[in-house]
Symmetry: C2
Subunit: 145 residues, 2 copies
Amino acid sequence: MTTELDATAAARLRDADQRYTTSRRQIVGILAEAGRPLTIAEVQAASGGLPQSSAYRNLAVLEQAGVVRRVLATDEFARFELAEDLTEHHHHLVCTRCGSVLDFTMSSALEEALERTARTVRARTGFTVQAHRLDLTGVCADCAD
Amino acid sequence: MTTELDATAAARLRDADQRYTTSRRQIVGILAEAGRPLTIAEVQAASGGLPQSSAYRNLAVLEQAGVVRRVLATDEFARFELAEDLTEHHHHLVCTRCGSVLDFTMSSALEEALERTARTVRARTGFTVQAHRLDLTGVCADCAD
DNA sequence: GCGCATTTTGAGAATGATTCCCATTTAGGT
DNA sequence: ACCTAAATGGGAATCATTCTCAAAATGCGC
């Protein structure tokens, strides 16, 4: 885990009147190393014994502080990743067979085209766009027969 | 509800060895008129007394038959819309305050650029892309102060 | 039209991810 | 070190969703 990530996470928790405790720091480290959204069970497994209630509570705290983002894919499990401004802008490959989620990035030309479109939406609909979310759904390499 | 939609829904249910019952037809009609994804509660309200268990069961049947698609947004409620090949290809505006979901469409140039990108993903990652899903998240007109 | 076999329905129970509760532990400031 | 406020963790509670099963509806052959 990079020092800046650690410092940024600490600062955001402080702004939210929350402490950057050992297990919160550990969760941030686990998500940083994963490079893909993790389920609660995966976070617990990687942590070696973090209680379920602490995992849920601390991920909720980190989410409210803007350190972590909740990702809903297709299965019944919520997944968590670092907030995008702490990593890189990216999108998700969602497997419709097993539910797994992988990260991927697109060309900046396409990203900019999306941004331009997003800016036109407000005038047309009254909806104020804050972010975009692009998932490609399909079958991951593991599930391909 | 258009006659073709009705016929297509009937055909898909038949292919799935399911009947196109009155309440299933009613649900299809409700979703067709809504023009946006509806929660179970909204479907029930529009139907005038459809029991919850029937709403869940019939939406699940319609989903398996490929007539209806389940949409996960940001709140805890699943929403349902007609399958895309029964309507038009579109995307969603997801309000982060109230959870509501609206439809919108993008230029075909941008859609084609997305498709081209999707086709490169398989070579790079081994993931076979079947569809894409683009949501713009933000604040809807109703929730804007 | 009539009964039979099969499917659908609906009310409530069961499930399971997530959230809440609260007594105990931990940590920060003085 | 002390004291106060916050965090922890085990388990209970919540709630959207799914399952169960007896009753009702439907389609089909005669």
